[in-house]
Structures are given as structure tokens and as C-alpha cells.
Symmetry: C2
Subunit: 159 residues, 2 copies
């Protein structure tokens, strides 16, 4: 049995859920991400792909870039990423490239998930960096955000 998620982990995942809800409110697929170094929040972002028309503007990539700017370094030593959805291959690879220590995520992504679903890129033993991966934190709430968003979009498109 893994240890129960800490209060701090849950608090940060709730913060990521708020960012995801804000993304949904502007028509973005609701995903939110927070990066902490120890217990200091360095960066946070919601998915912004549609607004920015940037194919790389997932919440995770935006938060990683912000955190690197705050630290003045591409190496995010001692950092944890909290994200509402299992990262895709791009975001999982970006986490490895940024040398993040720990990934905590909510819902699994049955379409593009590359941290447990299709591959395990964040703790792949052959890469030059690996991190601790904690899946399924507040999985129900984070999953509901997405299913409600897509359900509403399907209903809107029928009108």
C-alpha cells in the first residue's frame, strides 16, 4: 500500500483543479498544473492551446517554462509537478528534460497518457533522468471535470 497522499499534495491538487476549471470557463480542455519547490509554489498554469493556438501550450509545458524563468535555470531541482490529468508524451518528456523530482497527477488519460497508460516515460530506467510518479490523486474530481466538459461540448454541438 502506498502512503496516503499528504495534506500538502491534496491542497496543491485542489489548486490545480481550480486552474483547470478556469481553463474550461474560456473553452479550453480543462487541465491545470502547479509546480512547487519544497512547499513554495513556483508556477501555475491552465491549458491554453486554443487561445494561444500554440500546439505546445499544455498546462504542464507552460508551468515548466514559468518555473524555469523563476529559478533562472532549466534544471528544476527539487521540484514537484501537480497536474489534474496524466501527462501526454510531450509533457512527460518535458518533465524528464526539466529534471523534475516528482509528478503527482489526477485522472488517467486513456487517449494520450504516457506516465502509466501507454508508456511510463517519467520513470523509464533507460532515460538519463527519472522521477517519482504518484498517479490517481483526487482522480474522481479531476476526471469529472473532463467528462463534464466534453459532455457539455457534445450537447452544444447537437443544438
Amino acid at each position: 500500500m502506498p502512503p496516503p497522499d499528504s495534506d500538502f499534495d491534496l491542497q496543491m491538487m485542489h489548486r490545480a483543479i481550480r486552474l483547470a476549471s478556469e481553463a474550461a470557463a474560456i473553452g479550453e480542455v480543462p487541465v491545470g498544473a502547479v509546480i512547487c519547490q519544497g512547499q513554495t509554489v513556483l508556477a501555475e498554469a491552465g491549458n491554453l492551446r486554443e487561445r494561444s493556438q500554440d500546439p505546445t501550450a499544455h498546462a504542464e509545458v507552460l508551468a515548466l517554462r514559468q518555473a524555469a524563468e523563476v529559478l533562472g535555470s532549466w534544471r528544476l531541482i527539487g521540484c514537484t509537478m501537480y497536474v489534474t490529468l496524466e501527462p501526454c508524451p510531450m509533457c512527460a518528456g518535458a518533465l524528464v528534460n526539466a529534471r523534475v523530482d516528482r509528478l503527482v497527477y489526477g485522472a488517467s488519460d486513456p487517449k494520450m497518457g504516457c506516465c502509466r497508460t501507454f508508456y511510463e516515460l517519467c520513470d523509464e530506467p533507460r532515460f538519463n533522468h527519472r522521477m517519482e510518479v504518484v498517479p490517481g490523486v483526487l482522480a474522481e474530481e479531476t476526471g469529472q471535470l473532463l467528462s463534464q466538459f466534453f459532455q457539455a461540448r457534445r450537447q452544444a454541438s447537437k443544438k
Copy 2:
């Protein structure tokens, strides 16, 4: 036997090699990338990770973001990426996310390559997009750029 690389493919790979050499000249790991739509060059970039201290500033990601800005869309329909080195998981995933049609690359990456070496993320049948992958174009030249760069760096660190 695959068909020989077209003159245009070779011309674009030579252009990517020039970008990689320019990156090396400012102390960056020499990787260069060009994106074309048909035979029109939309974007080009060299690796800029050290200068920008941005963990996502690989040549491929920079070129993808530029091309999306030119097109005003995150969907890079009908586009080919030429890159001197086999993309890492982040860049391979970004190519899938951007719906790129075709990837042409030079040298294999024995450390992080995710298009043939460790995984085949760019033509993974379970993802929502796949592209044509053409590996090993001007592999000797593109590989030499990298080996010369790392050899020079090792010699410099011994002094």
C-alpha cells in the same frame, strides 16, 4: 529498399545542419530544425536551451511554435519537420500534438531518441495522430556535428 531521399529533403536537411552549426557556435548542443508546408519554409530554429534556460527550448519545439504562429493555428496540416537528431519524447510528442504529417531526421539519439531508438512515438498506432517517419537522412554529417561538439567540450574541460 526505401526510395532515395528527394533533392528537396536533402536541401532542407542541409539547412537544418547550418542551424545546428550556429547553435554549436554559441555553446548549445548542435541540433537544428526546419518546418515546411509543401515546399514553403514556415519556421526554423536551433537548440536554445542554455541561452534561454528554458527546458523546452529544443530546436523542434521552437520551430513548431513559430510555424503555428505563422499559420495562426496549432494544427500544422500538411507540414514536414526536418531535424538533425532523432527527437526526444518531448519533441516526438509535440510533433504528434501539432498533427505534423511527416518527420525527416538525421542521426539516431542513443540517449533519448523516441522515434525509433527507445520508442516509436511518432507513428504509434494507439495515438490519435501518426506521421510518416524517415530516419537516417544525412546521418553521417548530422552525427559528426554532435560527436565533434562533445569531443571539443570534453577536451576543453580537461584543460
